[in-house]
Structure formats: structure tokens, C-alpha cells
Symmetry: C2
């Protein structure tokens, strides 16, 4: 004891609390060889002569970053006086930059260049944007070079976003609950707005800008009309004012029935003149308060939400009405393609295509159709959505889910980069080979006038913003891919690790390895070989392959797994629902062919006998068991890898990750065991040699009960005995 107490005399320095609040913008001091080089290469700052709030923020960020990394921010000069001078601004704000003729015009309104140039005998670095926000983006890029220990000589970087709309979707309710949120409550403290502006709002906008996100839908797609009342619009305007200089526009979800609920009208029929006038007046009211309001996001006629079909009108009728209301102000409407018909169809995967393809070309120019990456609902793996490639005359924007509703909530380490990349690189064959989803989304394939990518945010009041340190990477990779869908998500992971944790290669390399394999691990322990939608009912917490009954079949697991005594999988070929026919012929041909379809989509498209011989030579049953087990083993590997990295980063974050990996391994085993226990009651087959049986019997897993699982509003108030 006494020796332990004697050690207490050594007090840990009261340093930065490594609680994750700083995200990837940590700017910790640079050590060693790089410090002198960076000090020399960032010796002074030459700001622009003309001011704007955005330029002030960019300059402040540059000083903050360099001050943190180099010990002190460089002095400011009115023109370059020495080597290493950093010249910052736009051609409009800086005569010096104007004189350099950087050919910025072709970079678009948000682009920037970072270039090493000679100026009156000095080696100078220019950080220049076409517009002010480009300067801010450029500053973040320049700082990233230091954060990731890149050389600052001979820089000739330029960048411009390939998508125009890079938007977070917050599924935040006005009561501060977050639908499918696992990171605390909503960061929007509506009660204290517009008077009190939590500093976190600024930090949020800064983080978004640092990865190029330029819009945010503040309210849940399952919308409340209250957000459109004057009381809340004033609150929204206060947030918009905070976000504006960071280049982040605010959007609202629009409840289609708002004219009834807050407008005193008797209908919300989109062709009714009074309804149209109400929305026009509402748009005018909003734009008076928020001149750069982005527009509306709408979930209509889906999962019980109101919509134009309530009045026998089409989605185009509904979207166009709202589009007409915001068009005079330059606003857009993002209309979600995620719809359910009221009546259960033969295959839920086919609905969006069936409803929207006939409407191609019928939408206003400022309507963007928002399409999830896959045809069901953000599953660990889905094939790409068949709408991509099928609507040449309607701009489609890609919706991905950053919050891990189906991928382990807060505590599972699952880096979503590979999932997003898999979709973006999928080939639709719409215009022959090489017609990637990315080419649809970036507008190059069909010449869309508007382009975009949106992500359902994983952000909440948790101190680390996202419920875990590694979940921050999913916010980060979303922003980076929305800026440029062709980026490598492995390289994005590497830069994120370096900025967030450490530049030590003995840390970076294994951690990037963990991240890159983490999504496949989750697929394996949850839904291998093309299975999907096998989670517990309502809460989506843990496995539930036995889930059946309830309000509609296409909300159950058995609907999707179709497991029976013969085999497992959903026949979506011509002998089944024929969902394959929604894809271009070469894709449809591959997916239809049991011999050609990749293993990882097998059961999505085929009902396959348990004894079917896989490419591996094993039976489907054995292969299934092995995949589940591989998933568990992969998490064990992550735990061992992480354990080997102890001491390489701060203990606060190390410990949290370590505990979360423990939880993940426990839950991965739960998924494996519960799934095998259930499917074995149908396959009646033994486990392959050497694979242990489930820890408990099926009844145990079926009767596990978890009340108060987060992510619901209201929570199911089940009682568990």
C-alpha cells in the first residue's frame, strides 16, 4: 500500500482532457524533426485586405492550428517578408492573390488551391479560394498537411467538391430525442434558442466545414409541423446565423400535413390552390428570416407519414408544389425515395423503383430525389439501389446512414467507409460498363444539374459527439466522400487516424487495418452471405432472425430470410419476386445466375438449399456457420490488435475503445449464437467440426428482453420479467 500511496506524489500534468471533443481538429504540438521544418514553412501569415466573417474564421483557424502545433502562431504581416510566408485569401480580397492568376475560376465557388510560389525572392505558400469559403476549406487542408506530417514544399494542390450538396440529415426531434441516435440527445437546445447560442453550435459548424459539409437538415424526416411555426423559425434563424460563415446552410424536414396542423386548412392536397399558397407564404416567411435557407427534406407516404398520395396525387405533385414554393429563393426540395406502399407488396425491395421510375422527368429542376444506398434500409450489406441508373432525367442524391442503427449502435467499431465506397463503386451498367453509382451521383453519367450526398448524422450531446471515438471516423469519411466520391476510404481512414490519434506508423497501420476490416466483420456476425434485416423488432438491438407476425410481414425477419427446411434466402430472380429485373441487363444477369453472383449477395437474390455446394466446396450451411464465426473471430482480432497498442495513445481514449471492443465481442457472439440456434432448428444440420454450439438454447435468445433501448421516441415501455 504505502508504495502505491508514495507514488501519488507524482501528479499527472493537467493536460488536455482526451475526451474526444476536439474530434480530428486536435492541433497537438508537433515534436521532433518536423517542428523546425514546419516553423520554417509557416513563418508568417499574410491575410487578405478585405474582411468577411468567413475569412476571419479561416484566419483564426489557421492561427489556432499553427499555434497549437508549432507552439505559437506565426506573426501576421501585410505582405510576404520572408520564406515560409502564408498568403491567404481570394482574388477579390487580396490584391496579391489576384496578381498570381491562380486560375481559380475553374475551381467553382467552393474550390481552393494551395500552391508554393516565388514572390519577390521569397518562397511563399498561397492558400487561395475562389470564394471565402474556399479559403476556409483550404486552411483546413493546409493544417491537415501538418497534422498528418506531410512536407510543405513544392505544394501544388487544388481541390473542388464534385458534389454540390453535402448534407447531414439529423433525425432529431424537437423534444431533443434522436431517432436512431446513440450519442446522447440532440445538440439543438431548442428551449434556449434563439437567445442562448451554445458554443457547441459553432464547434459543430467548424467540424462540418473541416470536411466540406455545406448543409444540415436539423429536424427528423419523421417531421413535426411545429418546426415550421414562427416560434421555431426564429430559433432556426439563430442557428443559421451561427452556421452561415462556415458555409453550412440549414434545411428543415417538412411535414406534408403542416397546412392542416398549423395552417388551419382543411386539406394538404398539393394541387389545392390554398395549400400551394400556404406553402409559398411559409417559404417567403422562412426566407425573410433566413435568406440562404437551403430548402426542405420530405419523407412522404412512407411508414405512416402523410403525403400527396393521401389525396391521390403523385410524389411529383407533392415535390413540385414545395419546389415551386422555394424556387424563387433558390431553395431545393430533397424528396426521399424510401417509401412503403400501404399494402404489402410481393417484395419491399421493389417499391421505390416501381413508384419513382414512372415519374422520371416529371419533377421540377430543384427537386432532388434522395435514394438510400440499397433498396431496403441501411443494412450491413445491400446491393446498390436499382434506382441508380434508372432515372436519367431526375437528379438522384445518395443517402447513407452514418448513425449505426443496424451496425451495433455506439459500441461496435465499424468503419463505414468501405460500405459507402462499395455502393459508390458499384457498376449500374446504365450506359454500359463503368457506369458507377458514383458517376450517377456526381452527375457525370446523366448530366444532372444538381448533385449531392446526404448522411444520417450520428451526432449527439455525448462529449465525443458520436457515442464513441471511432464513430467520429464515420462523420469524417462521409464528409470526405461527399466532397469527392472517388477518394479511397483506406486513405481517408489513415488521415483520420493520424489527425485523431497519432502519426506513429506502428499505431496507424494496425488501426487502419482494423477499421478497413471492421465492416466485413459486422456483416459476418450479423447478416452474412447476403442476409438482411435480421435484427430484433423495433429496437433493432441484437439478433432476431425468428421475428415474425406483427403489423406487416415486410417488417419481420422471416420475410427477409425465408428460411425453411429446404434452405434460406429471398428468391428475387425471375422465379421469385424478380427484383433483379430492376437492374440493367448485365447486372440482372449476374445477380440472377447462381453461378455468377458474388457470395456476399447470394441470399439477397436466391433461395438456396442448405446443402448447396458453395465455391469453397463447403455446403451453404457450413459456410454460413463459418461466416458467423469469422465475424466473432475478427472482433477478437481487433481486441488483440488494440491491446497491443496500449501506451501508444492517451489512456482515456484507449480505455473506452478497449471496453467497447469487449462489448462488441460479447454482442458479436450473441449474434452468431442466436442466429445459428434459430437457423439450425430449420436446417437440422450439425455444426461443422470444431465449431462450438451456441452458448444457450434458442428459447434463451428469443426471450431476451431489453426495455429502454436508445434511439426511439417514444421508447417501447416493455416490461421484462
Amino acid at each position: 500500500m504505502c508504495s502505491a500511496l508514495l507514488m501519488l506524489g507524482v501528479v499527472a500534468p493537467m493536460a488536455f482532457a482526451e475526451d474526444g471533443y476536439d474530434l480530428w481538429l486536435r492541433y497537438r504540438p508537433v515534436q521532433g524533426e518536423w517542428l523546425d521544418a514546419y516553423r520554417a514553412a509557416a513563418s508568417e501569415i499574410v491575410p487578405p485586405a478585405a474582411a468577411s466573417p468567413t475569412l476571419e474564421i479561416a484566419l483564426s483557424e489557421l492561427s489556432r492550428g499553427l499555434g497549437g502545433m508549432l507552439g505559437a502562431a506565426p506573426p501576421v504581416a501585410s505582405e510576404p517578408t520572408k520564406d515560409g510566408s502564408l498568403v491567404v485569401g481570394t482574388p477579390r480580397s487580396s490584391a496579391l492573390i489576384a496578381r498570381l492568376h491562380l486560375d481559380l475560376d475553374r475551381m467553382g465557388a467552393e474550390g481552393y488551391v494551395i500552391r508554393s510560389v516565388a514572390y519577390e525572392g521569397h518562397r511563399v505558400t498561397v492558400i487561395a479560394g475562389t470564394g471565402d469559403v474556399g479559403v476556409l476549406y483550404g486552411v483546413f487542408h493546409f493544417l491537415k498537411l501538418l497534422q498528418t506530417r506531410q512536407p510543405l514544399e513544392h505544394l501544388a494542390l487544388s481541390s473542388a467538391p464534385r458534389l454540390s450538396h453535402r448534407i447531414l440529415n439529423h433525425w432529431d426531434n424537437l423534444d431533443r430525442t434522436v431517432e436512431r441516435g446513440y450519442a446522447g440527445e440532440s445538440i439543438w437546445d431548442w428551449q434556449k434558442l434563439p437567445d442562448y447560442l451554445d458554443p457547441r453550435y459553432t464547434d459543430y459548424a467548424r467540424a462540418c466545414a473541416s470536411v466540406g459539409i455545406n448543409g444540415t437538415v436539423l429536424t427528423n424526416v419523421n417531421a413535426s409541423a411545429v418546426s415550421l411555426t414562427p416560434l421555431y423559425l426564429r430559433k432556426l434563424a439563430a442557428l443559421a446565423k451561427v452556421f452561415r460563415p462556415y458555409g453550412v446552410r440549414v434545411y428543415l424536414s417538412a411535414r406534408f400535413s403542416a397546412p392542416l396542423e398549423i395552417g388551419g386548412l382543411k386539406t394538404a392536397d398539393p394541387l389545392d390552390p390554398a395549400v400551394r399558397a400556404w406553402w409559398r407564404a411559409k417559404a417567403d416567411e422562412i426566407y425573410t428570416l433566413i435568406p440562404d435557407f437551403g430548402g426542405f427534406l420530405v419523407k412522404a407516404n412512407s411508414e405512416g407519414q402523410p403525403g400527396p398520395q393521401d389525396y391521390s396525387r403523385s410524389h411529383a405533385d407533392g415535390a413540385n408544389m414545395l419546389a415551386d414554393a422555394v424556387a424563387p429563393h433558390g431553395g431545393i426540395v430533397m424528396w426521399r425515395a424510401f417509401v412503403y406502399s400501404q399494402n404489402e407488396p410481393d417484395d419491399r425491395a421493389k417499391q421505390a423503383y416501381n413508384e419513382f421510375v414512372p415519374l422520371d422527368g416529371k419533377f421540377r429542376d430543384n427537386v432532388l430525389l434522395q435514394v438510400k444506398n440499397g433498396p431496403i434500409d441501411f443494412q450491413p450489406r445491400e446491393p446498390f439501389h436499382p434506382l441508380f441508373g434508372a432515372m436519367p432525367h431526375t437528379p438522384l442524391i445518395l443517402e447513407v446512414q452514418i448513425t449505426k442503427e443496424y451496425l451495433g449502435f455506439a459500441t461496435h467499431l465499424v468503419y463505414l467507409g468501405p460500405l459507402f465506397e462499395e455502393t459508390l463503386r458499384a457498376d449500374t451498367y446504365a450506359h454500359g460498363k463503368g457506369s458507377l453509382v458514383a458517376n450517377v451521383v456526381d452527375g457525370s453519367l446523366f448530366g444532372y444539374s444538381q448533385t449531392g450526398m446526404v448522411g444520417v448524422a450520428n451526432i449527439g450531446t455525448d462529449r465525443d459527439w458520436t457515442g464513441s471515438h471511432f464513430n467520429q471516423a464515420n462523420w469524417y469519411v462521409f464528409g470526405r466522400l461527399a466532397w469527392d466520391p472517388s477518394l479511397s476510404t483506406r486513405e481517408i481512414a489513415a488521415e483520420w487516424v493520424r489527425m485523431t490519434f497519432s502519426n506513429d506508423p506502428s499505431f496507424v497501420d494496425p488501426v487502419v487495418g482494423m477499421m478497413m476490416s471492421s465492416r466485413e466483420a459486422a456483416v459476418d456476425y450479423m447478416t452474412p452471405l447476403g442476409l438482411a434485416h435480421q435484427m430484433a423488432r423495433t429496437t433493432h438491438y441484437g439478433p432476431g432472425p425468428w421475428v415474425s407476425g406483427g403489423p406487416r410481414a415486410d417488417w419481420t425477419s422471416v420475410y427477409f430470410n425465408r428460411a425453411d427446411a429446404q434452405g434460406i434466402g429471398f428468391d428475387r430472380t425471375a422465379t421469385g419476386s424478380n427484383a433483379v429485373s430492376q437492374y440493367a441487363p448485365p447486372v440482372a444477369a449476374e445477380f440472377s445466375d447462381l453461378k455468377r453472383i458474388p457470395d456476399d449477395l447470394l441470399l439477397w437474390f436466391h433461395h438456396v438449399r442448405w446443402d448447396y455446394k458453395m465455391r469453397s466446396g463447403r455446403t451453404l450451411w457450413d459456410e454460413l456457420v463459418i461466416h458467423y464465426s469469422d465475424g466473432v473471430r475478427a472482433v477478437g482480432d481487433m481486441r488483440r490488435t488494440w491491446a497491443s497498442l496500449a501506451g501508444k495513445i492517451d489512456s482515456e481514449r484507449y480505455m473506452q475503445v478497449s471496453t467497447f471492443l469487449e462489448i462488441q465481442e460479447k454482442e458479436a457472439r450473441w449474434w452468431r449464437d442466436a442466429s445459428i440456434a434459430y437457423f439450425q432448428t430449420l436446417s437440422h444440420r450439425p455444426l461443422p467440426a470444431g465449431f462450438p454450439p451456441p452458448e444457450h438454447d434458442l428459447h434463451y435468445y428469443e426471450t431476451l428482453c431489453f426495455p429502454y433501448v436508445p434511439g426511439h421516441s417514444p421508447l417501447p415501455q416493455e416490461k421484462c420479467q
Copy 2:
């Protein structure tokens, strides 16, 4: 512009973020004259020889505090080697302390001494506890001496708690909503328990221990039986393990109907043998997991909660059943006296007395009757509860509300010390003059075997814990008064300001002044002259003196204000409900007598004509208007005072307080104007000369609508047009 940008070269040092997370335990560096003195007086630490988790925490805290304040923690020695040596421990853990014969036994299990002694020629300071937790309390006290710049010479301090149970009541639901919480969501992240122990749990226990709080009820009095299931008991046990070394015991609220809901029984009748057996088994199960579990808190037969009266049993029957279940393990039952009968009575203020006084002496020894400070419900001002002094054979513990349900939520600066003190110093006359509520509560008046004070917590996930920086003071003053109800709340305010903000007298004095007058200001702008329960329905946000109708009359404002054309106030004298008769005769006589009753309780006990001549010589109506206006003016004074203090503390906290005071002034004016607008429709009297009329007409105030006001679960989903 350019000058502004040039200034950016100066980077603020990346110092401590003053976000309030550190509460009053900030340990910032001591400057100037005090530094040398303190270094000399805390030159080394002599820890005890024997270990315990609590002693390790105490020593760690001492090093942390001294390290922070003095630049480095003193070295550790095995015995005193120089002047300024700090000898720490208990007689059992430290032979040196045992030899000093500090007469610790009379201090009780939790007491401590801090004493300057001579030891082998050195001037030494001893921080000694009877038990380990006393050492921890002593360390916090010693550090406070430095934090508040007190001399460390000739110390002869000793302290022991005057109440045995000093307990926070969290009205936290298992879905993390907090009933009447205005500081974010519940800090208990049940989903990740027991696996993940958020470091905040440790910080919470530490903060509690620093003010002597030794228990916490983790769950809402409107209880869920789920908290008693094995799943949740394992989570509770994990928290208990974190809190244990800090001397903080965990308690649960018990839902009376749990035997039906999770026990599979057909009744919850407290005299049913199966029910009694179920609770005994449940208690055994809990104590197996948590050997020092504190016991149960019960809200029964109140506001719709189940209870023994559902089976025609008495509160004593119900409480005693639970008491018998926990008695073998040393547990207690806190039974709330806050009850409503199902039928509306003539006066809600009389119910608790009428129900409980007949039961005096019928409770088990380990039942504590938990009584709110006043007979209604935590109003800005109430007379003391008539049960105090009326139950000599039943230990009464005092319940106060730290969260500001009726006092402006997060944003109003209202220091509750004077409110608590007013109750504690009220004279019940139960045994003649000087029979203070404090003497009831500390057990001295009736020789209670158990004593306690509980506070409804104001704690949530907000970074500052309590929704505002000044709300921290209410957590602090609760702990200090529960330790010693005779303390001066002005002195407590002063020490809190010094620890939390600054020792600069030019800051401390005006801020203590603001705090001490803040509660009376709130009484004035909300419910002056003895009015009560005048807030908006359900949400309790803002004024609603016109509220009438609804499910029961005694939930309305008009029930309580009784305003009519003649006058205003609730006649509780013999001509009315005769609630005065529940007080001892000298108190009843004073309250009954219009000439003797203090102005500030006038309308609580009397219906008074608008033209009644007050002591001031003014009419009641004029006096009422003046009080409302005084409240608004007082908030304006606070704003001006605070504005004069700019620059004396960090800008982060300064700015938040400044904005919150703006909100408070706006809302104080709203209270004044809405109340006057309503009452004027009844009094038909002009405002006194020079007092401006309400800004809007009554209709405006009556139709204001605020959906999604925090503090509800579920929130009222009202739509406002």
C-alpha cells in the same frame, strides 16, 4: 479589417476550457502572496500505512488539489520530516495518528479533524478521520481552505455531519429523460452498463463526496418496475461499485405494484404473504449484488402511483412491508408524505397532515417519512410543512427540490440557499419557542433514531452538470446544509463563489449579494405576497394565473389564487379550510391573524380584499403590482451588477451567465405582465402611478404556446399555430 486580422496572430493560450465541468473543484494555480505560504504549509504528505480504496482516493485528491494550486504536489514521506508536513489517515490506518489521541470517537463514523500539531519539533497538520470516508471529507475541507484563501496556521477544525442521510433524489427515468430536469438527459447511461463505466460516474461521486452527500436514489419517484429486474440490478451494482469508495450509497425508487408487473403475482397487497415474500426475496437479491444498498424511496398513492391504499391498506402497512424486507440488511425505506387523495379535498395543503399524523408511531424503525419543505409543491415560497413538529414518533426527513421546476428552469439565476434556510429556521413551536424545523430534522427535538435531508437533483448530461453555472451552487448548498442545517447560506454562497469563480473581493461580494437576493426576486416576479402555483399547466413554464378546468381543481391556478372581484388569496383560517389548525397554536394564531401574519405569507392563508390596507399604507392591489415590478427590477439590477464584473472571470462563463440573465429579465417581465393583466380583469383597478401597463393584452399571454418544454416524459405534443 486588416487590423482585426493582424490581431489574430495572438493566440489565446490553450488553457483549461472554462465549461463548468470542474464544478467547485477547480484547483487553479494560486498566485501572489498566498503561494509561498501554502507551499510552506503543505510541504509534504505523510499517508497512512494501511490501504483502502477510500484512503487512496483521499490521498489522490490531496495530491491533485495541491498539485493544481501549488504547481506541484508535495512529495510523499513515510513520517514528518519538516514543517508543513500533512499527516493523513485514521487511527486505524496510521500509527502516528493513533498516537495523537485526537478524540475522534466522539465525531462519529463520518467525522474528521484538521489540526495543527507539533510533532518531533515540526509544525505538522493532521487531517484525520474516524473512518476512511472522514479522511476524504477532511481532505476536501483542507483543500477548500486553500481554494478560499484561508490561513493554514493554528488549525483546530473538526466536523461531523448532523444528519445521517444526505441524499440526492434523481427523478431520472430509465429512458434517460429526467422529470423536471433542465440540464440535459440522465447521466446514467443504462444501455452501456454494466460493461462501460463512464468516467463521469466517478466525477459525480467525487463531487457528491466533496460536499458530504452520502447517498443517491438513481431512479424517478414515478418509478418503473424494470429497475428491479436482474438486468438492471446488475447495472446498478456496477454504479454502486464506482460510488462505494466515495462513501455514496445507492438507493432505488420502488414501484409498489412491481410484484404484479415483474413478479407474476396477482396482487401487490402489502399484507399478502406472497407479496411480502416477493419483496423479501427481491431485497435479498439486491443485497447479494450490493451489500451496502441503501434502501427504497417510495411515492405511493400519489398522482396516480400505485400504493397500499389500492388494497385498503395504510401507508404504514405499505412502508412496513418494504422496511421488513430491507431491515435484515440494514436498509431503510424513505416513504414520501407527498400524497393526493383520489378525491379532491377541501384544501390540498391539508392532505399529508391528515393522512400521516394518525399513523405516527405505527412505522418500523427503519422507515423515514420524507416531507417536502412546504405543504404544496416546491413553490417559490411556502410556509413550512405542518408535519414538521407533528410526528414526534416518526423520523421525518426534509425533501427539497434542487432542480428549479418552479423557479425558472435552467436559465434563471436563483440561489436556493435562502429558501432552504427559511424552512430550516422556521419555528414549529412543537416544544415551545425555538422548536425549529432544523431541530426536527436533525433529530434533536424528538430524538429521532434516523435523520436526513434529501434534494431532488438538478444534474444532467449538460457539460456544466446543472444547466447553468449558478445552478451548481444549489447542488453545493444542498450538500452543505444536509451536513449541517445550521450553516449560514450566505457563507456557503461566499465559499462557493470563491471556489467556483474567483477570490477577488470585488467579484465575490457583489455576486454573493446577487445570489442572496435572487430568490426573493423570483418570488416577487412569480408569486408575491404568499401566492403559489400560478404557473402554466403541465409544463410549468411561465405564468398561468388563469389556468382552470382540467382533470382536477387542485391542479389549477385559480384553485390556489381564489382571485375574484372582491380580492385574492386562499382563506386557510377557521373561516376557510382551516389549514392553520395543523400548526402549533402559537403558529396558527400568528398565521390566522391578518394583523400579525407576515406579508410574504399573506395570500397563502387569507383571502384579502383588493383595497385592503397593507402595513406599507398601500392597498393590496398596489402592493401586488409593486412586488411584481420589484422582481423585474431586481433582475435588472443583477444584470447591471454582472455587467460591471466583466473581465473579472473567464469570458466563457461570463458570457453564458450574461445571456441567461437576459433571458431571466425577459421572462420576469413576462411573469409580471401576464399576472397583472389577468388579475386586473378581476380587480378592475388601475396600476399605481408610474408603473407601466403590461406590454400585451391578456389574450396574448393566455394564448402563448410552448410545445416541447423540457422536463417531461413524454412531452406534451401540443401543436401551436
